[in-house]
């Protein structure tokens, strides 16, 4: 016996997660096109580790394994980890990160729907603090498949020849050395492309296309991505307006690093994010602003993970103070 309503929309958690994974495909395709198959190997490693850890934790917690395993949430976490980690990192790095995300950040907090922090960003934060050097080795464009295979699964790492600093890293190092300006650092540097990083512009475009499709599918709302990008652009624009020689342009920030992945796929994680319309705007804008602040003055080249985690802490407060007025109690 169950009660009304007897009609249900054809929707499920698995469907939502499947759509998120589909939406990641354009960005993933651009990644492979620009940087080779390394990312696919990482994606595979992360997926297998995520499913194994998820199954083990479900067994320990006495939950129905097949139902929860098929919900797809572990795979989404795995994919986000693979996409935010350097694609030529050693295999154990992405594996360890995924295990931390699934076991600690997800299941020790109570499993699906209960985690306070974004699991993928917990993994990223733990790994970049623990292995800052390895987490900063990004592939140079057009690295061969064999070389990537060797880097990920082999024992020796011959780095200097094949890895490259990201544009954010290059700019940071250049500016911090004391006598560079944005134009002298970027001019003629191989890492820089038309707007942001060489090759990364395409990946970011892919993420944006996938994200817009998620909006059209009503999986996410416009609030967080728009507020996040606007918040980042506002802070970056302000700094650039004051001193364009020492601060990068807002479009450079939007076209570099993890910001687009963060805006459409990470900050929009509903479990750990704000839920009210106004709350989502505050949440997104604050993350965007913090990303630029961390990039500019922080100790790490990119700040998406720390910005998201910091705002995850604020979610209960933001939600509490941004409850929308209910029917009949609106002030027109």
């Amino acid at each position: 016996m169950y009660n009304a309503p007897y009609l249900r929309q054809n929707n499920s958690v698995s469907r939502v997660m499947l759509k998120v994974m589909l939406a990641l495909l354009p960005g993933l395709a651009a990644y492979v096109w620009q940087f080779g198959i390394g990312i696919l190997i990482q994606l595979l490693i992360a997926s297998v580790v995520a499913l194994v850890c998820e199954a083990a934790m479900l067994r320990v917690r006495n939950k129905p394994i097949s139902r929860y395993l098929l919900d797809g949430s572990a795979l989404v976490t795995a994919w986000l980890i693979a996409l935010s980690f350097p694609s030529i990192g050693p295999w154990w790095m992405v594996a360890l990160g995924t295990a931390i995300a699934i076991i600690v950040a997800k299941h020790l907090y109570g499993g699906l729907g209960q985690n306070v922090f974004n699991p993928a960003m917990v993994a990223y934060a733990v790994m970049i603090v623990s292995f800052p050097a390895l987490m900063s080795q990004w592939p140079a464009p057009h690295l061969s498949g064999a070389e990537q295979w060797q880097l990920i699964l082999g024992n020796e790492r011959v780095l200097d020849a094949i890895s490259s600093a990201t544009p954010l890293d290059a700019l940071r190092t250049g500016l911090h050395s004391g006598h560079g300006t944005v134009s002298t650092v970027t001019h003629g540097h191989a890492a820089f492309g038309w707007l942001g990083g060489q090759g990364w512009e395409w990946i970011i475009l892919g993420y944006a296309i996938g994200g817009l499709w998620l909006m059209q599918q009503r999986v996410i709302t416009w609030h967080i991505p728009c507020a996040l990008l606007a918040g980042a652009a506002a802070v970056a624009g302000l700094l650039w307006g004051i001193d364009s020689a020492h601060y990068a342009a807002p479009w450079f920030h939007l076209a570099s690093g993890g910001i687009m992945l963060g805006a459409f796929f990470i900050a929009t994680d509903p479990v750990s994010g704000a839920t009210t319309p106004r709350g989502k705007l505050i949440f997104g804008a604050a993350i965007g602003a913090l990303i630029v602040v961390i990039r500019t003055w922080g100790a790490y080249p990119d700040g998406v993970a720390f910005a998201v985690l910091l705002l995850n802490i604020c979610v209960p407060l933001i939600d509490m103070y941004t409850q929308p007025p209910v029917f009949g109690h609106k002030k027109d």
Partner: protein, 581 residues
């Protein structure tokens, strides 16, 4: 009168937040005209068929009743009368199973039809010359209640707020629930009567304008109603097509769509200058006032998994199984719902009667309504909040209801929830959200009941303490009055003896007076008691006592002499006592 047909195009409509668009499934039952169900052998008329008090039965077993005869009188003003659906014999007044999910029984008048269907003589009532109060009383006694499903007594709603009047009378023909088509068919077939009823209500309430809201998936009903309004020359009645979106037919949502006004939870819509009635109610009000017919029939949609889905004129009290047998029971029916698939309630059995609230009987099969998928954890995706027509945050209410944190659930406006089911409909985790709200609400009501009981117990206890205190004070006052009288007497006697009492100092202080009186009494008693030991002595004893007294006196003299001679105080008082012991 081009007004009525152009109005839908010109009128500005408002949007309500949320809502869903399930498959309407109206075509199955909407195509055929309304049939009249043949007379049943037995009718079971529940006495309680409206919000408010349970009517008192006016008949006893063995009475012959006629169609339309009142068999239950409204219990107070918030109640509504019930009537015999046909002529026949009252065979019992007893508890029968109700069309309610709880499976509870309630008192019913059971009538065995005699097949003559003889009507009771109609009362002559000229509503045009009657006072508004008399019209309302008449409708109460005619048993007219809201036929949209809420069965609120209509006479109570036919009253504008005196200070602001009625700006807009809204007639609800939206019929937003899937499957249900009884209002649709009624508007198509009885448009003239409905419009007359609407005009009558507008007149009674002195409405400045009247808007009839119909979802735009019912073009035939819209056309019929527009034509009828035009023919009737009712220029201030507008038939308005509204976008089809569940729950546009919720009273509050419809008021919002047509006027932009949001009536908050717990407030009367007339305080905002609007009132809302169902089209079926308009028809029933006209039937009562123009034809003297009390409410004994209504249109019921029978649809879903049945052979012949359609609409029927059904007498109130008809056993539900007769109606569905008429429509043809099909194998595979798992449940029978009263109402639609979004808010309908499962019937405990088909032995229940059709009541005034029965707008639809829906046969549910596994094909029509798939069994719910297993519940998954809430992922806070917010789909429910986007679908909620009351602008609530359903997932927050769910978290708190589930944690039995009912106070917090109320802070998130649990009681503003209209239980429309939109949140459950969209939930990707298949959480039966509305069930959680129903659970939380019933728990809160139970706690309030407990609290009321506790409050009453505390009140009783406090009253008991107060009573004891009061009795004490009364006793003290009585005592004080008594002692005052006693003291006066004692004073009088004492003044003759000592003359040194100071009654004026203590007279104004009852406590002091009491103490003084008590001391005086004690002294008097002591004085009186002292000689008691030596009273009534025999002569021999008296001689002994005299002897002892003489010895004492001698000893005292000796002691006094000693004391004087050796210059130290003697325990003169003790000595004689010791000697006496």
């Amino acid at each position: 009168m081009g007004h009525t047909d152009r109005a839908p195009l010109l009128r500005k409509l408002f949007n309500f937040h949320g809502g869903v668009k399930p498959n309407a499934n109206k075509q199955q039952s909407a195509a055929q005209p309304i049939c009249t169900l043949p007379l049943s052998r037995e009718y079971v008329v529940p006495l309680h068929q409206s919000i408010g008090g349970t009517p008192q039965p006016l008949v006893v077993a063995g009475d012959r009743v006629l169609r339309g005869q009142r068999i239950g009188a409204a219990d107070g003003n918030v109640s509504s009368a019930v009537h015999a659906p046909t002529s026949g014999c009252v065979v019992a007044i007893e508890e029968r199973l109700m069309p309610h999910a709880s499976g509870l029984s309630a008192p019913c008048v059971v009538i065995e039809a005699d097949g003559l269907d003889e009507a009771a003589p109609r009362e002559n009532f000229d509503w045009r010359s009657a006072s508004p109060d008399a019209v309302r009383d008449y409708l109460r006694d005619a048993g007219v209640v809201g036929l949209g499903g809420a069965v609120f007594p209509s006479h109570l709603k036919l009253k504008a707020n005196n200070s602001i009047g009625l700006e807009t009378l809204i007639i609800n023909g939206a019929e937003c629930e899937p499957f249900i088509t009884c209002d649709d068919r009624l508007m198509q077939e009885k448009a003239r009567e409905v419009i007359e009823g609407v005009a009558l209500m507008a007149h009674l309430m002195q409405a400045k304008q009247t808007l009839i809201g119909i979802e735009d998936n019912k073009p035939d009903a819209i056309a019929a109603m527009q034509a009828a309004a035009q023919t009737a020359g009712q220029s201030n009645i507008s038939v308005v097509a509204i976008p089809t979106r569940y729950p546009a037919g919720g009273a509050k949502q419809l008021i919002r769509v047509l006027t932009g006004i949001e009536v908050p939870h717990g407030k009367r819509s007339t305080d905002y200058g609007v009132q809302c009635f169902n089209v079926g109610t308009a028809f029933a009000i006209r039937d009562a006032l123009e034809n003297g017919l009390s409410l004994t029939t209504r249109v019921v949609t029978v649809t879903g998994n049945v052979e012949r889905p359609g609409n029927y004129w059904v007498r109130i009290g008809t056993p539900m199984h007769e109606l569905v047998e008429h429509a043809g029971i099909k194998p595979g029916t798992e449940r029978w719902l009263m109402g639609g698939p979004m808010m309908g309630i499962p019937m405990p059995s088909l032995d229940v009667p059709v009541v005034k609230a029965t707008n639809c009987i829906l046969a549910g099969s596994a094909e029509l309504f798939a069994a719910p998928e297993p519940e998954m954890p809430c992922i806070r995706c917010g789909e429910c909040a986007q679908a909620c027509p009351a602008d609530l945050q359903p997932f927050e209410m769910y978290w708190h209801s589930r944690a039995r944190n009912f106070g917090k659930a109320q802070e998130y406006h649990l009681f503003d929830c209209i239980e429309c089911g939109c949140c459950s409909y969209v939930c990707p985790s298949h959480i039966p959200l509305v069930d959680y709200y129903r659970f939380a609400k019933s728990e809160i009501w139970a706690r309030e009941k407990d609290k009321t009981a506790a409050d009453q117990a505390r009140d009783r206890y406090e009253f008991r303490n107060y009573r004891i205190e009061r009795e004490k004070e009364e006793k003290a006052a009585r005592l004080a009055a008594k002692t005052a009288a006693g003291r006066a007497a004692i004073q009088a006697s004492q003044q003759t003896v000592t003359g040194d009492a100071a009654p004026s100092e203590t007279a104004d202080d009852p406590k002091k007076a009491m103490i003084a009186a008590a001391m005086q009494r004690a002294q008097a008693q002591k004085a009186a008691a002292q000689p008691q030991n030596t009273e009534h002595l025999t002569p021999a004893q008296q001689a002994e006592v005299n002897d002892a007294e003489a010895r004492r006196a001698r000893a005292r003299e000796l002691a006094d002499q000693d004391a004087q001679s050796i210059g130290k105080t003697s325990p003169s008082a003790d000595t004689p006592n010791k000697m006496a012991d």
